[in-house]
Symmetry: C2
Subunit: 382 residues, 2 copies
């Protein structure tokens, strides 16, 4: 298997981008990645997108995006794994380069959520229609159940949940691409509107538009495009029971743990080797569960670690230096690729006020639904 590197990265700001269409968002991100690498052609494109069909009435994003990039002809397909679509696109692109079939492959993600669709209803199509959604539950409710299970099993508190949001907004305030750049206090989070008990508005990631793209090539060619290549050390993916009720422990994200174990094994690294990580905090409880499944903390101790500052910039293991989904925004198909871009910037030493000192190895964890699919990548400065 050939070694693979990221040699270019581009992304739009995340937010309510009313004047940008789905295709605009892709093109802005893709051109950013191409310019960053000084590349003028592509061998293939992967487009991570959860639901162009339902959000804006547009499927078949592979050729559409190649065409609007000015590259009609280039092989291009869409990859979907709900909110892990971006991570899945990165993984598929990695395999195409690793196989030796292609050299310059763009892994991208894009979502246009603010365009009039019933967003919560569309997102719910990532849960099990027959055993969950039919009965009326949507994702805030599913993650509220996860939160209650975690609180019951481990004594996790409302303050623990709120500390995740406070930390991620503090990081996001330093990120020019973030949707929400304001800090929030523990009191503000705990006093925000109740969405699905115990989750409040400021525990929930927002509805966002955005695009993100990274350019992959064989590591041996990377220095043709950049003097700061970032090697993809590992890709791990796993699934779990689709319906939350079918999992042994709803407070434990077993697909995340399995994806992480595969990635750690492939990279021949462990959790203590990771200097910085982006994890999938679609709701505050998801970050706590992810920290435990990734073995960054012991099981049940993620809330305590968060309140102790271990996951902040400057802490033991800085998590979501970008602001995470909570503050940076969560255009669902783009999120997995945007996570990789934050790690690329950190490992290049270009993260500005958010820079983690001497970051050499980073990790991303992206997931779909209530954790039924998860993709973990490990990156290294070379």
């Amino acid at each position: 298997m050939r070694e693979v590197a990221i040699v270019g990265a581009g992304m739009t700001p995340f937010g309510e981008l009313w004047t940008s269409s789905l295709r605009d968002l892709f093109v802005d991100a893709a051109l950013g990645a191409l310019r960053d690498a000084g590349a003028d052609h592509l061998d293939a494109i992967y487009v991570g997108n959860m639901s162009g069909g339902q959000f804006v009435g547009q499927e078949h994003l592979g050729p559409l995006m190649a065409d609007h990039l000015g590259m009609a002809g280039v092989p291009s397909m869409r990859v979907e794994s709900a909110c892990a679509s971006g991570g899945a696109a990165l993984r598929a692109a990695f395999f195409e380069v690793a196989s030796g079939a292609s050299d310059l492959v763009l892994a991208s993600g894009v979502e246009k959520m603010n365009d009039g669709a019933d967003v919560t209803g569309v997102l719910a199509t990532a849960a099990d229609q027959e055993s969950e959604v039919y009965h009326g539950i949507t994702f805030p409710g599913l993650y509220a159940l996860i939160a209650r299970a975690h609180m019951a099993a481990h004594g996790t508190t409302l303050e623990d949940l709120a500390a995740v949001s406070v930390k991620n907004h503090r990081h996001g305030a330093l990120n020019p691409k973030a949707q929400f750049r304001g800090e929030v206090t523990l009191a503000q989070v705990m006093g925000s509107s109740l969405v699905a008990d115990p989750l409040r508005l400021l525990h929930c990631s927002p509805v966002s538009d955005g695009g993100a793209a990274v350019l992959l090539c064989p590591l041996e060619r990377a220095r043709e495009f950049t003097d700061r290549p970032i090697k993809i050390r590992a890709t791990g993916m796993a699934t779990s029971a689709m319906a939350l009720a079918d999992r042994k422990d709803p407070a434990y994200l077993d697909a995340v743990a399995a994806a992480a174990n595969r990635a750690y094994e492939m990279a021949r690294l462990g959790p203590t080797d990771i200097d910085v990580a982006e994890v999938h905090d679609c709701f505050a409880i998801a970050e706590l569960c992810a920290l435990e499944a990734l073995c960054f903390t012991e099981r049940g101790r993620a809330g305590e670690a968060t309140r102790a500052g271990e996951t902040t910039i400057g802490g033991r293991i800085p998590i979501n230096t970008s602001g995470g989904l909570k503050s940076k925004g969560h255009p669902v198909g783009a999120t997995g690729v945007a996570q990789a871009i934050e790690i690329v910037e950190q490992l290049r030493g270009e993260a500005g006020d958010r820079q983690v000192k001497d970051a050499a190895i980073g990790l991303t964890q992206n997931m779909g639904g209530s954790g039924a699919s998860s993709v973990v990548h490990i990156f290294e400065r070379v």
Copy 2:
């Protein structure tokens, strides 16, 4: 790059399968492929599907299908390229095995179209929403424009178009999995209801439910699973302008030609080396255009070749021995994988009454939209 083989194949019958859900269709096909190979585990799954979200309110098919197959845990993602989703899933699965990352990878496709959705409206989301669908056109109209352009440029006749349907129904009558197993006459085709001038009902593929799956593994391990492995000699993909009006010649499928050229080059083979092929006859005109883009006939001569019997079983280059999309049915996400299964059966010598004598090398051509994306694979008996 490792060489890759197909070692198992399974598919449901195609048709109006009112008692089977989307997940049932996948599981039936996947279990068929696993049984065919005598395999009891998988390293990864790719699910080709155009629009589960719009057809049945279900995205995130990767984990859902792994779960319902009894294999929750296995990495699994959906791939979409409209009606070429199955071919795209096969291509992505090929890269994962070729890279060396995984050994046993299932490439599948599934679609549940008969479940109450506005099928023509959903399918139209594979065309360009901004420059085509907004103005009211859907796929019968787009392919009618292609047919008129072909007739104007090359003198193609209504009889040429009808001959495609007559031939494909004759083939499909021999296929136990086909949706329509009745033969039709030239007069019946030409007298059927007008759908979009000049296309009539019997020029159009039907609305179908179905699933199809093939099991891939490294060629060097193939004989652990079968004594009749089929090697995947090549995969080629290309895109074109999304909107028909943006193409230089609407009667020429340039994405098909480019995908074919890439596949011929990778296989170091040409069109005269192909013994049998499945092409994407979503409408009769599409088969004629595909024959020309694949260089099975000269440009403008596909209608004449069809009427002369060159593309029938026993002819110079038998096309759509399965019955094609027209007679076998066209559950859009499953079609590309079902095409591969017909070629596998032909190359194994297991196609029964449809057997092409001494078939050793076969080709599949799958496409999305009005030809904006196309995937071509070449297979060989080894």
